[in-house]
Amino acid sequence: MSYWQLLKNGIFGENPVFRLALSLCPAVAVTNSVKNGFLMGIAVLFVQTMANVTTSLLRKFIHPKVRIPSYMFIIATWVTVTDLVMAAYVRDVYAQMGLYIKLIVAFAIILSRSELFASKNKVVPSFFDGLGMGTGFLLALVIIGFFRELLGRGSLWGIPIVPTKPLLIMILPAGGFFAVGILMGFFNWIDMKFFGGKGASGAGGGH
């Protein structure tokens, strides 16, 4: 696959949230506003790309028997970097999302890309794969956050759009599940209708 295709694959073909159904926990937990979703997406994009590159660089040195702990170490390293940077520079957001930033270590999508892609491919393709997956995740979180914040709070990025709260349930956890489910169905429908796909089968759960 060309680099462009790798990038596109992460955003559309195998979008982590809408197609693979991986990392649904943050997709529900931090998306009650666009801003939170965006910053979470940026953090995941960074960790995903860097973890992919590092794993790919070290793939010849990692013994297969200890590969999963090794990937976890690599991911945890980059999560720590992100965590400390965010704690230093975006204090107010970090106060809200700090817990979830640390949880990036356990995100299924990052480990699965290390295992399925970066450990078998060279550095540059791994970089683009991580970039594509991270961007796909970022886009998914922003789209979910857009609908939840608009419907639940009547605002976007904290700026009021509608004077009332049209549908309060959307910023509650239950609304997150509604939003993810309906958007997933919508993207499946687009895929089946316009691209002749079969719809996502879902990789089955995960954080």
Binding site: L167, L168, I169, L172, A174, G175, F178, G185
Partner: protein, 339 residues
Amino acid sequence: MKENTVIVSVSPHIRSEETVSHIMWTVSLSLLPAFVMAIYFFGPRALFVTALCIISSILSEYFVQKAMKKKITISDGSAFLTGLLLGLNLPASLWSLNPFTLHVPIIGSFVAIVITKQLFGGLGYNIFNPALIGRVFLMASWPRAMTIWNEPTAAFLAFDAKTTATPLGILKEEGTGRLIEVFGDRVNLYTQLLIGHRSGSIGETSIIALLIGASFLLYKRYITWHIPASFLGTVAVLAWIFGGKGTGLFTGDPLLHLLSGGLILGAFFMATDYVTCPSVKTGQILFGIGCGALTMLIRLKGGYPEGVMFAILLMNCFTPLIDRSMRSKVFGAVKVKTK
């Protein structure tokens, strides 16, 4: 010699008139007494809110089946019944001179029919009771509009009816003493609760009318005693043991808990929904006990004054599990040995 005298056909050979739609319409009919009493107590607004729910349920069903290119089944009565049950679970105050709460019943019906029923595969495939999900969705989205309770009024067309707390609300906030004070004395309290002269959701107040409908369903054997009896029994026992506030164990008032809230409506008409309750009899008893325990947990310890709808929905989740673990043994089946 006559030919073709023997007709060979596949089972079922005994046909009954009890089709799905027959049952749905009968259940709807059995809710009629409660509905009439509700219109008597809450005036035409009760009629309007319920009618709005029924119409928007049927329209939702029609359009979603049209959009999904399924067979249109609005005449089987299931959408009608869902709309009716949702309407009976809403406060009558939604229909007031303020037009900004009229979207509430419509969105509730949409959620009940489209999201809870049709997106899960239609009638028979839904995990949760559609009307209850509709109501919980509305409770979470418009907590204020959903908890303005009208006082039952003698003035039939009064649009500016007084609002008041429900008996369970008073019980939670101010205790039994205040509740008896509001209703005069204890006997009057029970009588009023039995007849339904109290604030609350449209269809839940009149216990007598609901029991008439329920006994009709029991007589026709459309529902069995297992779920209602175990549900109500658990509530009564737990209310007796833990219901007393500050007076120790075994001093609670079971009758008060049985007669207030949406318990009777829930136990006889919602928990017994064929699709979302277990089909094994022992499982149904377990289901009822679970519903009762969760109801009392929410009523006594939770943040909401009433917990019947959450209890039923939570037990709906367990229905497949109960059914699977309580499946009766197939006669003659041999257990396959695994090494």
